[in-house]
Symmetry: C2
Subunit: 373 residues, 2 copies
């Protein structure tokens, strides 16, 4: 324990509401925090090999100290683990441990583990308690908050899952010290995203303090807590993603298309990097449509470049399809409703909005400039 | 169409509320009823081979007349279809048909199809529209109402699933004419159950009119509608089964133990038959505990015998374990909370209640009398 403050963010969802605790040293306290909220609970801890090697023993020791018996379920790391096969494995092991509806599934890991374990918790006995202990920056600021869980199928990513809110999220900012730097940087794209959606002051804070966020300490805790507050606000307004929650897709329509165009090859592009390029493109496209000033687009590009994130399509290594091919990927994105093109565009830093019926011809012309210009 | 009236039962669950229509000739009207509630919807129809052979073309013709394009998904009949493999098959075919969140999965079949298709609808794109067109008596009066869905695993029945309320339930009483008589009779046990839980007048109606219910016509429609009203009341009070809904398990603790003891061999005992014996035992046990009069227990036994349902353990063909063995099956039942024995007992016809902490020794002594006496 460093003595630094722990911040608490409340996700205001009535009966399904919960706390997100953000700070250093929380991994040791997982047991007491859970015991305080879920007395007499038993648990299964779902994690991956990378995280297990570094952090599992710390957590299980803390659980034991609080009298919580925990069954570890360790899976292979990586996106492939978000599959029916892994889901069935988790379900089977939780049932084999004879856990009941009032017991808890704890996710210790990045977004892959959180999405998979949350889905399992949502369907075992039609819903068990679920606790998120996110260990990647992306998971701490994004995937662990809001209750979206799921797996991938041959038809696309995240097409199968449930809304399953956690009972508690514990984000220990120190566990990020063992995260590969590229993963930290990719997660940072989602942090910047919250500033760009509707928190201009937060974006200005990041422009000034990003080095401190990367190196740890109170700026990191603040940036993660502020991100959680931003996401919690949107989720409280639109739990089941029927409206406003789409704002969280800023940068994601272009980003997902780029991920698909690089065949989800993480050596070329990881999700957060796609989002970084996507956010830069969303701002540049907004400027081209005279919605925001070119200076704002430039500010976004400059910040992404400063932290070492890709921001141009040409920053992505290897071959990419042409403008027409990219448009095909965009039109296949599942957020595209019955053929109409929906984008998150912006009127300036922190002034994003949902634009429905964006003309495909404009997008195509823009992509031509970006790819061929 | 016979000109007979269609009855409507509302399941009062606020935003998630829906209508159950009960009557003759509804299969032909599925298209218009869905189109009235879900405009521009596309659909997948999940069914089994037995039901498809008899009723699928009637329904798809009706859907087409209302402009609803439907993809049929026909599965093998039987409890084995409530598996991860079949779930994955349904998910895959619905996604391959490119159905979206606003489109519908329609279950056309018995409880097996309803439970499986409802689970799939609950997880595809984190929740699609779901419509129940139940074709067995059990499904019309029980499984299609209330939103419990799920599959079986090696660890037990119905251990994995979600709560997914349908948008509409259409119970065509005429489709029951093709149901094997044994299945109809087994489903009738659940009809009688509603009388025994809290509707003494309904039980008296059944004692007098069961022949008409079996042969069809307005008594059948009334009995099914009254059953749906009974279940809808309980579900509205306790959607997520944290309290009162347990009353619906009258006869089921003994019944499930008998099903397990006969290794779920349908040639020996189908679910509703187990429930029939279980209800008789629950009344006899209540009489033994001086909770209700022996006359009430006798009335239940006499009615079950009259309709041709088994009511004594000795009515079940083949070997059964002894009293100790049966108690083991009871204690393993998932409704048993942390070791305490919970039963639905009764103070008389239509006066059931949830009894927690029933002494295992009393149950054992009772089982000895039943099995060895
Ligand atoms: N549910 C949601 O709302 C939501 C939102 C955004 C993203 N997601 C999902 O999240 C997933 C991506 O999450 P991610 O980026 O965390 O991926 P991830 O879980 O694969 O983690 C990235 C890598 O970092 C490793 N790792 C994690 N924590 C570590 C630590 N502390 N030390 C060392 N290594 C560590 C992991 O083993 C993995 O190799 C995607 O599947 C995406 O779909 C979900
Ligand atoms: N979700 C719930 O709340 C709930 C409640 C009770 C039972 N259930 C589940 O329901 C299942 C049992 O339901 P079931 O008894 O309907 O079983 P089922 O679906 O297997 O149907 C019984 C048999 O009748 C056939 N059939 C159905 N309709 C027919 C028709 N009109 N004509 C000819 N054949 C027809 C089926 O093909 C099958 O062979 C179990 O899996 C049980 O767990 C669920
Ligand atoms: Zn993202
Ligand atoms: Zn039943």
């Amino acid at each position: 324990m460093t003595g630094e403050a722990v911040d608490t963010v409340r996700v205001a969802l009535g009966e399904r509401g919960y706390d997100i605790l953000i700070g250093p040293g929380l991994l040791e306290r997982v047991g007491e925090e859970i015991a305080a909220r879920l007395p007499k609970v038993r648990a299964a801890v779902v994690t991956d090999e990378n995280v297990a090697a570094r952090h599992l023993s710390t957590m299980t020791a803390g659980l034991e100290n609080s009298g919580i018996a925990a069954t570890p379920i360790v899976l292979a790391p990586g996106e492939k683990t978000k599959s029916f096969a892994a889901l069935q494995e988790v379900v089977d092991k939780v049932l084999a441990a004879r856990l009941e509806r009032g017991d808890a599934v704890i996710a210790l890991g990045g977004g892959v583990i959180g999405d998979l374990a949350g889905f399992a918790a949502g369907i075992i006995r039609r819903g068990m308690n679920f606790v998120q202990v996110p260990t990647s920056l992306l998971a701490q600021v994004d995937s662990s908050v809001g209750g979206k869980t799921g797996i991938n199928t041959a038809h696309g990513k995240n097409l199968v899952g449930v809304f399953q809110q956690p009972r508690l999220v514990l984000a220990d900012v120190n566990v990020l010290d063992t995260l590969p730097e590229r993963e930290f940087r990719a997660g940072y794209a989602e942090v910047a995203k919250y500033g760009l959606i509707d928190r201009p002051d937060f974006f200005a804070f990041l422009e000034k303090n990003w080095r401190a966020v990367f190196s740890g300490g109170s700026e990191r805790t603040y940036a993660i807590a502020e991100s959680c507050r931003a996401k919690a606000d949107v989720v409280a307004r639109d739990e089941f993603e029927t409206g406003d929650r789409a704002l969280l897709n800023l940068g994601h329509t272009f980003g997902h298309a780029l991920e698909a165009a690089t065949a989800y090859d993480g050596s070329r592009l990881v999700h957060g990097e796609g989002v970084a390029v996507g956010m830069a493109l969303a701002h540049r496209f907004s400027a081209r449509m005279n919605l925001c000033s070119p200076d704002d687009a430039q500010r976004v590009e400059a910040h992404l470049a400063a932290v070492g994130l890709p921001w141009r399509i040409s920053d992505i290594p290897g071959e990419l399809p042409g403008a027409e091919g990219m448009l095909d990927y965009i039109a296949q994105d599942k957020k595209v409703k019955r053929g109409a093109l929906t984008f998150i565009l912006t009127r300036g830093i922190g002034q994003s909005f949902i634009a429905r019926d964006v003309p495909a011809s404009e997008v195509l012309a823009f992509l031509r400039e970006q790819l061929e210009g």
